[in-house]
């Protein structure tokens, strides 16, 4: 064994020397990307860590700029019909896949059909349900794929027809579910097209290497239409779940970008790595959902007391250390298509924390819950340091108003399973917006849909149901005028929040750490930072 060890040592030393010499000229970005990607097939992906990789090697009709706003991508221009239902896109000249095959409108039609195809079982297909017959194909009620509202008028023109006017549709098109896939390759090798040996790209980068558990390497694609502007030659997306180990490696210079930090270190990072901390709110809500099918939680006063007793101001800065902002409403500030609607605030916003606690206590006492006869509550959350800390803090806040909390944690899969079937009293949940529009979060509170004798509540775990709310949401989907639509949605939000449909706690904060040698990284509401906009000086 000793001989082979020496041999390996010599071989690796030699290889390293070789690597060093060739690598010196390429500009390489090393990104800590969190978890292992489950898939880099845009129709099978589901996490932001996969999105970072996919959005660099495939480009859709629309792309994101450094501010994560929609800009023309593979499409050069587009027109929208007057009724807002038909979008026509004209593709650029010369766009091609990295194996030389041209990108045609057929690729897009094929991609959308594959997205909705029940056999693909794409988890996120629902994001594109605004497209005519999208949801019908996905649930099998329509079997002829040609009925899908995506058509290739010719090789360079894509026409998309929608069920109703959808103001956020262009943004939805920047999502990976709207990406094209190489029809010619999939016809040949099927689902194996994402193998490193087969895979092709039409975006700024091409996937070169994939070592599971370790990293994915992408290199700049010379066939990309905007290749001239792409500055970074190589990007490595590293897998690392242990956040404090990741921070150590960042400090050792092995990572240029961290996409998450251990929250205890937030203060330390701000003090000791000045200018490298990119902490900014992004579109996501952290909330506690209350099961309204279980008394006494069906009583809105109980929910009101629970909400009032939470001191949201200390959670971000003190409990977490990263300064998340408190949230009382259901639509995060900065969400698009919500102009003219003031940020929701409850009627008791003017009271000091002590006054709120006093009032909450009075409410609970009126219902018979005191320190000696407390309301017993079980709080469920998924295993995570932060969720735990917040739960501990909030349960001590609730103790003041005569509520005794039992903490219960389980893995994410088990936790959400329990929420979904209603096996909980109070549970922690979070929602990251898929696109910037109030309907994305408000839809969470709609009454369930009757399906085959049962009600499917979807993500409305608390089973909040108010017909007036539902009707406001319905009206909004049909409303073309953006201002009127925003007003309707605003009314819906106020209705639900006044009744404490759920208890929002804070607005998520994106926590990125970026080395000083990297420029072009801009904080944005979607926390999307495509590598093509970044530069790195050695």
């Amino acid at each position: 064994m000793k001989f082979t060890q020496t041999l390996t040592a010599v071989a690796t030393a030699g290889a390293m020397a070789l690597l060093m010499s060739t690598a010196a000229s390429a500009v390489t970005l090393n990104m800590m990307n969190g978890s292992e990607p489950g898939s880099i097939d845009p129709h099978k992906a589901s996490g932001d860590w996969e999105n970072r990789i996919i959005g660099d090697y495939i480009e859709g009709l629309m792309a994101e700029d450094a501010n994560a706003e929609a800009i023309p991508g593979q499409a050069e221009s587009y027109t929208i019909s007057d009724d807002g239902l038909v979008y026509t896109f004209k593709l650029r000249d010369g766009i091609q896949w990295s194996d030389g095959e041209p990108v045609t409108a057929e690729d897009f039609v094929f991609a959308f059909q594959r997205l909705f195809n029940p056999a693909t079982a794409s988890e996120y297909a629902y994001l594109q349900f605004p497209i005519v017959n999208g949801s019908e194909i996905a649930d099998g009620s329509v079997t002829d794929f040609n009925e899908l509202g995506v058509k290739a008028l010719d090789d360079k023109t894509v026409e998309i027809t929608l069920e109703g006017p959808t103001p956020f549709f262009l943004q939805a098109l920047t999502h990976y579910t709207a990406y094209p896939v190489p029809k010619h390759l999939i016809d040949k090798v099927g689902d194996q097209w994402t193998n490193v040996d087969n895979i092709v790209s039409n975006g700024p980068y091409s996937i070169k290497e994939w070592v599971p558990g370790s990293y994915i390497k992408s290199v700049k694609s010379e066939t990309y239409w905007d290749a001239a502007k792409v500055q970074i030659d190589e990007v490595n997306y590293f897998v690392q779940d242990d956040l404090s180990a990741a921070l150590s490696r960042y400090r050792a210079g092995e990572y240029d970008i961290l996409t998450d930090i251990p929250s205890d270190q937030a203060e330390w990072i701000k003090t000791n790595l000045p200018g490298q901390d990119y902490f900014a709110p992004f579109l996501g809500i952290y909330y506690y959902v209350i099961n309204q099918e279980k008394p006494p939680f069906d009583n809105p006063d109980v929910r009101k007391a629970l909400s009032m007793a939470i001191n949201r101001d200390v959670i971000g800065p003190d409990v977490l250390g990263t300064g998340e902002l408190p949230m009382y409403g259901w639509v995060p500030e900065g969400t698009a298509n919500y102009e003219g609607v003031a940020v929701y605030q409850p009627e008791w916003i003017g009271l000091s924390y002590e006054e709120r606690v006093a009032e909450a206590k009075t409410i609970m006492e009126g219902l018979g819950y005191t320190a000696s006869t407390p309301l017993q509550v079980q709080l469920k959350y998924n295993t995570n340091d932060n969720h735990q800390r917040i739960a501990v803090a909030i349960s001590s806040m609730w103790e003041q108003i005569g509520v005794k909390t039992e903490l219960f944690n389980s893995e994410t899969a088990v936790h959400y399973d329990a929420l979904r079937v209603g096996d909980f009293q109070i549970g922690r949940a979070g929602w990251l917006l898929d696109y910037s529009d109030p309907s994305n979060t408000l839809d969470l509170l709609r009454t369930g849909i009757a399906q085959g004798g049962e009600t499917n509540w979807g993500n409305n775990y608390g089973r909040y149901s108010n017909p007036e709310f539902d009707s406001l949401m319905e009206q909004a989907t049909k409303e073309q005028d953006l201002a009127a639509r925003a007003a309707l949605l605003g009314q819906a939000e106020k209705l639900a929040m006044d009744e404490y449909a759920a208890i929002p706690i804070y607005n998520y904060i994106a926590q990125n750490v970026v080395a000083p040698s990297v420029t072009g990284f801009v904080n944005n509401a979607a926390d999307i930072h495509r590598t093509r906009w970044l530069t790195k000086t050695e």
Binding site: L243, S244, E267, A391, V392, A393
Partner: protein
């Protein structure tokens, strides 16, 4: 993790020796052993330290101004502050570290006790049965133990804990099930030699059932090895529990254990060192001392004259 201190092999040798030796003679051996133990300075010192730690853990909390789960909103993540009564600082939730260290030590000791008890009970019964019945039964049972020895038990424990949730009882039982193998081996060895003794023959002649013989005559003579085993097992159990805590599968909030405290303190050792130093010092001293005591006991109770 089982076997971390090498106790398994050490004790297995011991077990082999016991097979061919006369059974311990009763009281005089104990006095002999105690004398030998007293001469082992490291062991004696360790006994005092362990007693001190036990006092610290179970009696200490009564002297502290803070309980382990009370949140001090004005002192989150603060270093030791004597005026505020936080002698060892506060954690990320604002809870007093000293109180938590005490509670954690309590929990670790309790887990260790219960798990040791579980493994002793299973091990003793299993080993005594195998040794007493001998022959085919013994061969099969021991073969089973041999093979189980080699399997990555910890993986099964992880799977079980993940599946059946964070049940503390399950935790004790699960860890206990990792450790009974060596006990079984030792007990079997001892039983094999014991069963040839006159008093066992007499019992058999008197018509006593095998079960009675095992429980009344054989088990009581096993105290020596069991005590050694128990003392050497506790460090392993505490380490196993800390390993599980690191993975997030150990003791749950608001309770804590030494392992949980360390796994929370290790990542922030640079910025919040007081979260790591206290628990680490207690853990390391506790385990070191227990190991010295166990070694001392083994040396003292060694059947071979030196």
């Amino acid at each position: 993790m089982a076997g971390i201190t090498g106790k398994d092999q050490v004790l297995t040798n011991y077990a082999k020796q016991l097979e061919t030796l006369d059974a311990p003679k009763g009281r005089s051996l104990t006095q002999d052993a105690v004398r030998r133990l007293r001469r082992n300075k490291a062991a004696v010192l360790s006994i005092f330290v362990v007693l001190f730690i036990i006092l610290f853990a179970f009696v200490g909390p009564y002297f502290l101004p803070w309980t382990y789960d009370k949140i001090d909103w004005s002192g989150i993540r603060k270093p030791p502050n004597f005026e505020a009564g936080h002698y060892a600082g506060t954690d990320q939730n604002g809870r007093d570290m000293l109180a938590r260290i005490m509670q954690g030590t309590q929990m670790s000791l309790i887990v260790a006790m219960v798990a040791t008890l579980v493994s002793v009970i299973i091990g003793v019964i299993y080993g005594a049965v195998a040794g007493y019945f001998g022959g085919k039964v013994d061969a099969v049972m021991m073969r089973f133990v041999d093979i189980m020895y080699a399997l990555p038990y910890i993986l099964f424990v992880i799977i079980l804990v993940v599946i059946f949730g964070r049940n503390p009882v399950l935790l004790f039982v699960g860890i206990g099930c990792l450790e009974w193998l060596t006990m079984a081996r030792i007990v079997r060895g001892q039983t094999l030699s014991l069963k040839e003794r006159e008093f066992v023959e007499a019992a058999k002649a008197g018509g006593a059932k095998p079960w009675t013989i095992i429980m009344r005559h054989i088990v009581p003579n096993l105290t020596g090895p069991v005590v050694i085993y128990a003392t050497l097992t506790i460090p392993e159990i505490i380490l196993t529990e800390s390993f599980l805590s690191y993975l997030g599968l150990g003791v749950q909030e608001p309770q804590t254990s030494l392992g949980t405290l360390i796994s929370f303190g290790a990542p922030v050792a640079e910025t919040l060192p007081w979260m790591l130093i206290g628990p680490a010092v207690v853990l390391v001293s506790l385990l070191l001392c227990l190991t010295y005591i166990g070694d001392g006991l083994r040396d003292a109770l060694d059947p071979k004259d030196r």
